[in-house]
């Protein structure tokens, strides 16, 4: 019993320390990224890795989710005789909620885990120490390009997701189930306002920063965690934790941003 309470206390302390280190890393990067030398090519490279190479999974998941939404909303709206608002329902759901959240979750699974593993392995193989000893700040050299790329890429991927998902809903609703094309498109145009788009954009920017920051911090500070000395197993656990914590953070901040901006 005592040991369980002691372990809980240790876990709580470590969680607070990690949160502090992560926030500290954000502040350091926010300051250093405006100082020369500017990492233009590394940022472009990371945008390619996080953004361009996630396009396939975003398009597939966007199309699938759009089709599922079209189907499920049709089934529900048909009971109330309101299938004409299918376009509005699909578009508003995607743009306000599902687009930013699902895009972030897909990017966490694809790129976030890879980022955490890369930085964790660099840490345990002394590559980060080597950068320090070459007078190259590793937080600016390794983490800043990834963070900036995440903030740029995730909103762009979100736009792609939204378009494909709305298209998926159109495919199911209009082409498969016979909803009027005019009501689908015009309903969408009439109901989606700038505030909805702004909400989606703000969420996707914040999610982009959040998921890359958490994944980078988990890998970068692997040596300071309780399993930092465990080599490959430590990297594996850090990667798992990074994905889980990023995903939960996205869901929590989705609610928070929605509540604050409504």
């Amino acid at each position: 019993m005592i040991k369980a309470i002691s372990n809980l206390g240790s876990y709580a302390i470590e969680t607070i320390e990690q949160t502090g280190r992560t926030f500290n890393l954000l502040l350091i990067i926010a300051w250093k990224m405006f100082l020369p030398p500017y990492q233009i090519f590394p940022i472009i490279k990371q945008i390619y890795f996080i953004g361009a190479r996630s396009l396939t999974v975003i398009i597939i998941s966007g199309g699938t989710i759009g089709m599922v939404l079209g189907l499920q909303f049709y089934n529900t709206l048909e009971r109330f005789g309101s299938v004409s608002v299918l376009g509005s329902a699909v578009a508003l759901s995607i743009i306000r909620e599902l687009g930013p959240v699902m895009t972030a979750l897909m990017v966490v699974g694809r790129a976030g885990s890879a980022i955490c593993a890369e930085l964790g392995i660099m840490r345990i193989s002394e590559q980060v120490d080597a950068l320090e000893c070459m007078a190259i700040p590793p937080d600016k050299y390794l983490v800043a390009p990834k963070l900036i790329a995440g903030i740029v890429s995730v909103p762009l991927l979100n736009f792609v997701f939204n378009v494909v998902a709305i298209g998926g809903g159109y495919f199911v609703g209009v082409i498969m189930l016979g909803v009027s094309e005019g009501s689908y498109v015009n309903g969408m145009i009439d109901s989606v306002v700038w505030g909805d788009v702004r909400l989606g954009m703000v969420k996707s920017i914040i999610f982009g920063m959040l998921i890359t920051l958490i994944c980078c911090a988990k890998g970068f500070y692997l040596h300071l965690s309780r399993y930092g000395s465990q080599g490959a197993e430590g990297v594996s656990r850090a990667t798992t934790d990074a994905v889980v914590i990023s995903s939960i953070s996205v869901l929590f901040f989705d609610f928070l941003i929605g509540a604050l901006m409504s």
């Binding site: 040991k3 030398p37 660099m122 193989s125 002394e126 590559q127 120490d129 080597a130 320090e132 000893c133 070459m134 007078a135 190259i136 700040p137 050299y141």
Partner: protein
């Protein structure tokens, strides 16, 4: 203020949590010499190297490197000092996403405004010094252990540093490659007038390269001296290390049984 010593370590204590790793370490490393830091496993030599490199803050004491106390200085000054040093890590620590040449060029690209041709030429000069010129376009995963060490050395010397550090340079190498690396270290000292610090426990290498040797034992400095002084030492910790005499296990019988039978949690 610069002295004849490149590095001065005074009253150094280092802890990991509640564990004292190094106690009261005092060493001077003279300019232009090869100082070998040796000791048994767990003696604290890698920790001492990390403190000298500024990667670990000591609990107490001072490390004066080229006139700057690195334990009590700003990050900006520490980084400026690091541009004058090169480090070859035990595993090489090469960046796996870059070729050998790109690894070596990294400090030049980050710290100088040299044109591309000059960078290429300087890279090739250093690769030639370590006999790695034919392999400049290989990735680190395609290199053998010895090749990784030589590539790491080329990267460490690309900026012509005043101070050069090696962490277990011969670890995992065959005797011939190890001897070649020792020759390289001596050549660097003689031709480029570098101050070199080597952490190792490979006895053949130690006496092949060292101007002076510092021996650590259980976190304390046992002795510092020339190879001849070390060889003629009568301290049993030194003679035990040099002659590979296993430590005696003089544990009390009751203590031994208590260790074997106690609960895991204690």
């Amino acid at each position: 203020m610069e002295t004849a010593n490149a590095i001065e370590i005074r009253d150094l204590d280092v802890d990991y949590g509640s564990r004292r790793i190094l106690s009261d370490i005092n060493i001077d490393i003279r300019q232009g010499e090869i100082m070998v830091i040796m000791g048994g496993s767990g003696s604290g030599k890698s920790t001492l190297l990390r403190c000298i490199l500024g990667l670990k803050k000591p609990s107490a004491g001072h490390i004066n490197m080229l006139g700057t106390d690195i334990c009590h200085t700003s990050n900006k000054k520490l980084y400026a000092l690091r541009e004058q040093m090169g480090v070859a890590f035990q595993g090489g620590a090469l960046f796996t996403s870059m070729t050998v040449a790109e690894n070596i060029q990294l400090p030049l690209r980050e710290h100088t405004n040299l044109d591309e041709n000059t960078i290429q030429i300087m890279t090739r000069i250093k690769l030639d010094m370590v006999n790695m010129l034919p392999h400049e376009n290989l990735m680190p995963s395609e290199l053998s252990g010895g090749m990784k060490k030589r590539a790491a050395l080329a990267r460490a010397i690309i900026m012509d540093p005043k101070l050069l550090f090696f962490d277990e340079p011969s670890a995992g190498l065959d005797p011939i490659t190890s001897a070649e690396l020792d020759e390289l270290i001596v050549m660097l000292k003689e031709s480029m007038k570098m101050t070199i610090v080597v952490v190792t426990h490979e006895l053949e290498s130690v006496f092949a390269i060292a101007d002076r040797i510092a021996i650590l034992g259980e976190g304390r400095l046992v002795q510092v001296g020339t190879p001849e002084e070390i060889k003629s030492s009568t301290d049993e910790r030194v003679t035990g290390l040099l002659n590979r005499i296993p430590r005696e296990n003089n544990v009390d019988k009751d203590v031994h049984i208590e260790r074997l039978t106690r609960d895991k949690e204690q």
